[in-house]
Amino acid sequence: MRDVVLLVVLFIAAYAGFLALALSQKQHWLRILPDAAGEASPPSGQFRVAGGIFLALSFALALMRDGAAFGSILCGVSLTIAGGAAVVTLTANPFWLRSLALAFAQRRGGD
């Protein structure tokens, strides 16, 4: 059970990390939130830090699950899969991603 939970969480972390890195780029931010075109560029710094943290977390969880040898390989291949999943998500532009980005933009606007 522990292994299953760690595997799911490390994938989600890698996936979230790549999505965060993608949203730090203007073209993807504007694609998800076209109404934000009139504003300043996306919060790239925050998204990139978040993306880095999520990816590092994914790596740490892989090592925790399977040790240095298997964990490194697991991290490497799971990044490939998670990256692909992030690209497909961005292309599909689902409602939940727009809602999440909008919530973040509104929160940022309120700060």
């Binding site: 799971s78 692909g84 961005l90």
Partner: protein, 521 residues
């Protein structure tokens, strides 16, 4: 192709673009075949279960090795050596192999519960057709296949690096996949994404593949270090034991006793394989190998016992430098026990196939209009090559599986006929690609859909093992194979319908070459 395309451009990025393009066109066909067969080889033992229904038995342990001795010795008249590979969760049978002096290996499967020989499988299956195809292309003449695979692997490394160099906006395009009416855009984006995200996997796989065959590609250091010495590199690095037969008869000591001793020395781990050299001879010896499935490194740790007395002659373990090579090899060979990684490798392998296929497609799409206008034949030649090398080999693979289910088990030369079916269908796919150029992609995607569905249906009708039946009997390899075949059927059918829809709407157009190549570079 015209002169402007073949002239080597100046400038580093432009020359890398030229290298990437033409290396891909020339080697891409072989590279796809290697990647496709390698992807299948991830589940070679599960393919064996599918193609050898008699081996779909329940798992059980081997109670006595000594009980297998008379079975092994009956396989050939005067065996020079025979070996047993003990059952695992992926292979529930005992794999028996015996060899006469100067003769070919005889291989059979044994039911570990009853100790009886199972029917001859009559097929090479995954481990003896798809897997050797991957690393040798079944071209044994002067190691020609291994050299071609090595050249392809080296080319893959070059293309990984040149691909990064020529991708001008690699970070800006990192997550970009545009599904647009112009298929060239989508094709290029898909190629870039599978290339960038798959870069660590593809690079490591290609490099580790070269390192596995270091003794083939770089024999000179060994020749300098060992010259004409009888001690070979593998003997020293893996610590193997050898001695000649005495030519005198002697009784064999108990293998079960040796097995117990090996388990005692290996913290309770049972040997994964047992090999008896010169059985019945006064100088016979027994090699018992320790399993290496718990680690990444494909280690070769063994204990050698004296055949007549059971005394230990030598214990060996992989030496430190060799361990590095075995770790790198292990990353490629994936003989370890890690189901998550095994499935992830499979998906990454398919992504690698997509990378190569989209590379071909982009080359053809971006040149079709211009070549047609200039009356050049380059695109039609490469397009036929692309179709045959990609969808063609997939169709041939399903042809192999279908032949496996249709050919009677008792037919002489059955395994050879399956291989003939594979190659004839593959040649036919190339011919179809050149003769029906306009419809080749659509019709071959359709053939893949039909072939994969037919394979599942034939498995159910010829063996009685539907997916549900396999799941209920915990035959996960067979069930998984059927499910993957059905998924492949769905993807191929959707692709064929989508391509047909585009053709009907007339939306397939070549983008003028210079603009798109600038974007790619």
């Amino acid at each position: 192709m015209d002169a402007s395309e073949t002239a080597v451009p100046t400038g580093f990025r432009a020359s890398m673009n030229w290298l990437h393009t033409w290396a891909g066109v020339v080697i891409g066909g072989i590279l796809f075949a290697i990647f496709w067969m390698g992807t299948l080889s991830v589940f070679d033992r599960e393919i064996d279960r599918w193609t050898m229904p008699m081996t779909r038995i329940d798992q059980s342990a081997v109670r006595s090795l000594d009980a297998l001795v008379p079975v092994a010795e009956r396989l050939v008249e005067k065996p020079e050596q025979w070996s047993i590979v003990l059952p695992t969760d992926r292979v529930p049978t005992v794999q028996l192999r015996a060899r006469e002096k100067g003769g070919e290996d005889v291989r059979r499967h044994v039911d570990p519960a009853s100790g009886t020989l199972l029917d001859e499988p009559g097929t090479l299956g995954g481990t003896r057709f798809f897997y050797p195809f991957h690393y040798s292309l079944h071209l044994r003449f002067f190691d020609l296949g291994e050299w071609l695979v090595g050249i392809a692997a080296m080319t893959m490394l070059i293309m990984c690096i040149s691909g990064v160099v020529i991708h001008k906006k690699i970070f800006a395009d990192f997550f970009t996949l545009r599904i647009v009416r112009k298929p060239q855009r989508t094709t290029l984006d898909l190629h870039n994404i599978t290339g960038v995200f798959g870069l660590p996997f593809n690079f490591i796989i290609a490099l580790s593949g070269l390192i596995i065959f270091f003794s083939v590609y770089m024999p000179t250091p060994q020749m300098i270090a060992y010259g004409n010495s009888k001690v070979t590199v593998s003997d020293e690095t893996f610590g193997r034991f050898k001695r000649k037969a005495a030519g005198e008869l002697a009784a064999q000591a108990s293998l079960d006793t040796m097995r117990l001793e090996a388990a005692r020395r290996w913290d309770g781990e049972q040997p994964e394989s047992v090999r008896v050299y010169f059985p019945g001879d006064a100088k016979s010896y027994v090699e018992m190998r320790r399993p290496s499935e718990r680690g990444v490194a494909d280690r070769v740790d063994a204990i050698y016992f004296d055949g007549p007395t059971g005394a230990i002659l030598k214990t060996t373990s992989t030496r430190p430098v060799a361990n590095v090579q075995r770790f790198i090899a292990g990353m490629h060979l994936i003989q370890f026990r890690h189901w998550t990684l095994r499935w992830l490798y499979f998906v990454c392998g398919l992504a690698g196939c997509t990378l190569i296929g989209t590379g071909f497609l982009f080359w053809v799409q971006s040149r079709r209009k211009r070549h047609t206008k200039l009356g050049l034949r380059g695109v039609s030649v490469v397009e036929g090559l692309s179709v045959g090398a990609t969808t063609g080999i997939i169709i041939a693979t399903f042809g192999f599986l279908i032949a496996n289910r249709l050919l009677p088990l008792e037919m002489a030369g059955r395994s050879a006929l399956e291989v003939w079916a594979f190659y004839l269908i593959w040649i036919g796919a190339f011919a179809h690609a050149w003769l029906r150029a306009r419809y080749a992609w659509i019709e071959q995607c359709g053939a893949i859909a039909i072939g994969s569905l037919l394979a599942v249906v034939l498995n159910a009708t010829t063996t009685g093992h539907t997916i549900i039946h396999s799941v209920l009997r915990s035959q996960w390899g067979v069930a998984g194979m059927d499910m993957v075949l059905l998924a492949g059927c769905a993807i191929a059918a959707l692709s064929a319908m989508r391509l047909r829809g585009r053709m009907t709407q007339g939306t397939v157009r070549a983008v003028p070459q210079p603009a798109l190549e600038t974007n790619h570079a």
